[in-house]
């Protein structure tokens, strides 16, 4: 949920890719593909974000395995969670939750533990493995990842280094009313907690509710909570925006005078991850699919297709040298990964987060 809205609300990944001039094959990829071909040895059912695999790579796996995977899609972790948590959710093999949801999915018994003897994670970036949302990668394998940061027009906004700078700058004339924030509760509340020196995964309900007044006061400066729109930054309708690095890369390519920063003291890293549904009917095929997509060659291709970095170690050097704004795929060169934290959905606080978010959006209304 937290990390999702930046990337997936409003604009789909495909439209971002289209803006970047990525593979036109994306257009051919529909949300739900027809069932496997006649010569298929087995089947594979994937429940994923829309346009989250390149068709070329899917075709390559079909050629290798003889199976055309069925891909159903969701556009929010919440939807995916609700569906897996209902009778309608049986039958899926592979799901792709964001990092924050893996604990809750596992707690509800909706995921099965990975058999590490059947999948090789050795080529993956160690900094993306064994993270707090899934110690020992019991349930998940990183697919790709993103950062929460800020895109802004330095001529109007000045320089931003911290979340405090973000909120201060937002109140200035010329910036007020031209701000984009996310609809994700954790990404709204998180920065306020970080300013107060708190950990968003350990914050109490009182801590979370304590940010409400500050954020509601700031809400009047916000123009939109809708999906990130690079055109609005190009036209000057928006001069300061929360965004992830991939969306920001699109905006920067359109308008090079914009700046991108991952503010301090802390910010977010989210990792969309492969996981196996508890009752996955096609386990063998699922593992085969995972191994294929974790191979370095496919990881590079997927990165170039998606604009989000895959999990393989040393990926940057493997990308084609003429990839535009290559550094931005990884959030720039000066990101301190020590200061990044992943949000973990907690049933005890999820209501409080959403309450604050609703109140902030309401306070922004006229």
């Amino acid at each position: 949920m937290t990390m999702t809205s930046l990337t997936r609300s409003g604009l789909s990944r495909r439209s971002l890719l289209a803006m970047l001039g990525a593979a036109p094959a994306a257009a051919a990829l529909s949300g739900l593909l027809p069932a496997g071909s006649a010569r298929a040895a087995g089947a594979l059912n994937i429940y994923s974000w829309p346009d989250y695999f390149s068709q070329e790579d899917l075709d390559a796996w079909t050629k290798k395995s003889g199976i055309t995977p069925n891909i159903a899609t969701y556009n929010a972790n919440e939807v995916m969670f609700a569906k897996l948590n209902s009778p309608a959710g049986s039958g899926y093999d592979i799901v792709i939750p964001s990092s924050g949801w893996i604990q809750q999915l596992a707690a509800k018994g909706l995921l099965q533990e990975l058999d590490h003897s059947k999948v090789d994670l050795s080529a993956l970036d160690p900094s993306l493995l064994n993270r707090d949302y899934d110690p020992g990668n019991k349930y998940s394998i990183p697919k790709d990842w993103g950062l929460l940061g800020v895109v802004y027009d330095p001529d109007v906004v000045g320089e931003i280094k911290t979340w405090q700078d973000f909120f201060d700058a937002g109140k200035k004339d010329g910036v007020s009313g031209k701000i984009r924030m996310t609809k994700s509760a954790s990404e709204t509340v998180g920065p306020a907690l970080w300013i107060a020196g708190k950990d968003w995964n350990k914050a109490t309900v009182e801590d979370i509710k304590g940010t409400a007044d500050f954020l509601k006061d700031f809400a009047k400066h916000v123009r939109t909570f809708s999906g990130f729109d690079p055109a609005a930054l190009a036209s000057g309708e928006i001069v300061l925006a929360q965004a992830n690095q991939s969306a920001a890369r699109g905006a920067l390519l359109q308008n090079p005078k914009l700046k991108w920063v991952v503010p301090g003291p802390k910010s977010e890293i989210w990792v969309d991850s492969y996981a196996l549904a508890a009752k996955a009917p096609n386990l063998e095929e699922a593992y085969d699919f995972l191994n294929f997509f974790l191979s370095p060659e496919i990881q590079v291709k997927e990165t170039e297709y998606l604009g989000y970095p895959a999990a393989i170690a040393g990926l940057k050097d493997k990308l084609s040298p003429d990839t535009k704004a290559k550094d931005m795929i990884f959030g720039g060169t000066d990101v301190n990964f020590e200061n990044l934290t992943s949000y973990i959905v907690n049933p005890d606080t999820v209501d409080a987060y959403q309450d604050v978010q609703n109140q902030v959006q309401a306070a922004a209304g006229v």
């Binding site: 939109t224 809708s226 036209s235 000057g236 959006q361 309401a362």
Partner: protein
């Protein structure tokens, strides 16, 4: 909506009764009668009663992150009717009322104009009104994002006409939301009005003029009151969906301000709090039922004299 429900239920009941002992000798008739009664009843159950039943049952239960414990508690209603959510609810009523009024204000003169055209021109005009309705709702709304954007087509036209030299500042405002709402709901607002207006006999207009009413007073004392059923239908067809509207405020209003539809959606999804979401949904349903009941009195047509 609840009226249609009532009618279907009645039909079903009648069907069952008709299949009773009196018709027993005709075996085939009995079977088909049962079938005719069973099919609507089944649809009714699947599409109306069962979901409604779940929603009502959930609303009295307790929800913990995607798991509902049934029971009887009014806590969810207390939450839904207090503080922030009550405000959202009132704001939504106000929002729907405004949207509906604006829609009516645009639709009525348009419908009046169309209704006064001769048969063929009228049909053509109605088709033109309805054509956009057949394209995707999302696309129709999203196209306004392009039109209303800075340096977009509308700004370009306004600048060319020297009506403004400032950047167009409409996107992500209430104005943009209401423009989108009026546009999206206009076709279904116009049609009932055209139907009612074209049925008002010209002789009634002439009678009013004959008795000394100016054109304006004729409209006010005769045409407007006689179009009340059309107005009520339009209010029903636009106001009620507007109560649950969340796409247009999200695409054109920057998601500023929280309407009850968005609040319900956030309870069901973001908070996985099905019980509170259900309680809010039941309250909306009650509000809709009250509105429909009030409007039903107005939708009753006037019996034709003679």
């Amino acid at each position: 909506m609840s009226f249609r429900l009532a009618t279907i239920a009645q039909d079903g009941a009648d069907g069952v009764r008709a299949a009773g002992p009196a018709r027993r000798p005709r075996r085939r008739g009995r079977v088909s009668d049962h079938l005719f009664a069973a099919v609507p009843s089944l649809w009714l159950f699947i599409f109306f009663i069962a979901p409604l039943g779940f929603t009502v049952a959930y609303s009295f239960g307790h929800s913990s992150f995607g798991t509902v414990t049934l029971g009887f508690s009014l806590d969810n209603y207390a939450t839904a009717l207090s503080g922030f959510y009550a405000q959202s609810f009132l704001r939504t009523l106000q929002f729907a009322a405004t949207g509906c009024a604006l829609c009516l204000a645009v639709a009525y003169p348009t419908a009046y104009f169309i209704a006064r055209q001769a048969g063929r021109a009228r049909n053509l005009a109605l088709i033109l009104v309805l054509v956009p309705y057949f394209t995707s709702f999302l696309i129709r709304v999203m196209s306004w994002q392009i039109l209303l954007a800075r340096s977009g087509p509308i700004e370009t036209v306004l600048r060319a006409l020297h009506l403004t030299d400032a950047p167009l500042d409409i996107m992500d405002t209430q104005t943009a939301v209401f423009i989108g709402m009026v546009y999206a709901y206009l076709p279904i607002a116009i049609v009932p009005l055209v139907i009612v207006l074209q049925r008002i006999p010209q002789s009634l207009v002439e009678a009013a003029r004959d008795l000394g009413a100016s054109p304006w007073r004729t409209f006010w004392h005769v045409v407007l009151p006689l179009s009340r059923p059309g107005i009520a239908t339009t209010v029903l067809l636009t106001g009620v969906p507007m109560l649950g509207e969340l796409v247009i405020p999200s695409l054109l209003g920057g998601e500023r301000g929280v309407l009850i539809g968005q609040a319900i959606s956030s309870q069901y999804l973001n908070s996985q709090n099905y019980s509170l979401g259900s309680a809010m949904a039941v309250l909306v349903l009650l509000a809709v039922a009250i509105i429909v009941a009030l409007l039903a009195r107005l939708t009753r047509g006037f019996a034709e004299a003679a």
